[in-house]
């Protein structure tokens, strides 16, 4: 094979509620699609092999690792990145992350928010142990997780109920 032109595809999908049509190399990851083609740089690449969770986004409403999801496999899909998260629960989560010092450098934060939002939607009632188990797919190197656990706890169960916010 002397032809080095990479195989391409034109992809149509909805990102943060807006339609997007992009010509991509077939080997492109969803993460690079979002960052490089669509300039949505809130989704961060931390390891590019599915371990750290920094690139977690919602794909058709479910959290996925954007770094090991092929962009080509997302044709027709709905993608939501940190930039596109909205609603009372994410507002409360953001406020709780701020109040509980749940971020330092901010690099893991977008992935944390996406995972935490998904967790709270699925399991509005959570103990600290459950928060720790279910969030284990997202690494943070700065906070020691203490503030993040507190922030999620503040939005779970009684914490959320007290503030009048519940998980959808």
């Amino acid at each position: 094979m002397t032809d080095t032109t990479p195989p391409m595809l034109t992809l149509e999908l909805t990102v943060n509620g807006s339609p997007a049509r992009v010509a991509i190399e077939l080997r492109l990851s969803l993460c690079d699609l979002l960052r490089d083609s669509l300039h949505l740089t809130g989704t961060h690449a931390g390891c590019e092999h599915g371990v750290c969770g920094a690139c977690t986004v919602l794909l058709d409403g479910e959290p996925v690792r954007a770094c090991i999801t092929l962009a080509a496999a997302c044709d027709g899909a709905q993608v939501t990145t940190v930039e596109g998260l909205s609603g009372p629960l994410i507002d409360r989560l953001r406020a709780a992350f701020h109040a509980e010092h749940a971020l330092q450098c901010g690099y893991c934060t977008p992935g944390m928010l996406v995972s935490a939002l998904d967790l709270l939607r699925r399991k509005p009632e959570l103990s600290d142990g459950e928060i720790r188990r279910h969030m284990a797919g997202n690494l943070c190197r700065c906070t020691g997780y203490v503030g993040i656990v507190r922030a999620i706890r503040a939005c779970a169960g009684a914490g959320a109920a007290n503030s009048g916010v519940s998980g959808r």
């Binding site: 990479p6 599915g50 967790l119 797919g137």
Partner: protein, 292 residues
Amino acid sequence: MKPAPFRYQRAGSLEEALAIVGSAVAVDEDARVIAGGQSLGPMLNLRMVRPTLLVDIHRIEPLRAITRLADGRVRIGACVTHAALEDAPLDGPLSGTAGDFIRHVADGIAYRAIRTRGTIGGSLAHADPAADWPCALAALGATIAVVSPAGERRIEAGEFSLGLFETALQPGEIICAIELPAAPVLRWGYRKHCRKVGEFPHALAACVVRDAGACAQVWLGATGGAPVSLELDAPALGAFAALPEGQQARLRTGLRASIAALLPAAVAQGDAYARHLHAQIAAEAVIDACLR
């Protein structure tokens, strides 16, 4: 850390997938079937594998269904995600104790954002020795249905994995479903040892009991090769739950020792700690099954 170039085709039906794979096989092209890509994705990015063609089957609807067959067997489509199994309703096809086992195993695989994409069939086809399904499904006595242009054939789950990234799949074959036996599961135990939450386990064991009486068989995973099954001759285990504490402790120790003695030499060759760990985890799985 970007993959080497490849072509990609999404199949709309199983027939189409078979045709694409078939023509690739015919010209000796390195084609790989991909579903969620949660095992293949990292390997592609690390350039540990470099197929020239990926055939995406994850949108083939029949492969995403869980159905209870008329004879009581449950058929799980190959592209059912771990998350879908984790969330499988208690009153659906995965009702009962076997369903509990499946839900438990699914819930413990890696992390939610992996489980939403990763599929049961993909895990089997990838045959990572440390993966959960090859061992769990072997213990459950499941059957793997695979298709080729020649038709469908069935392989016992316990005979499907052959070794590190090696399976009984022939070139051109695609896993289409996993079938669970109709006979009810009475009790089960499932244990793994990970150094951290969600990490690939270093020892893994499943014990599924369908007959009243002794827990007779335990399957070990993460052994470096295919899952290993051990037959236990321990009739006293049947009454384990009813025994006084001291006797339970003695039985536990004895069970560990007998499993250690049964471990094939190939398991964690020459690594005393790993072999101990396998025996320990297997014994705990058996005891869980006795207590559950």
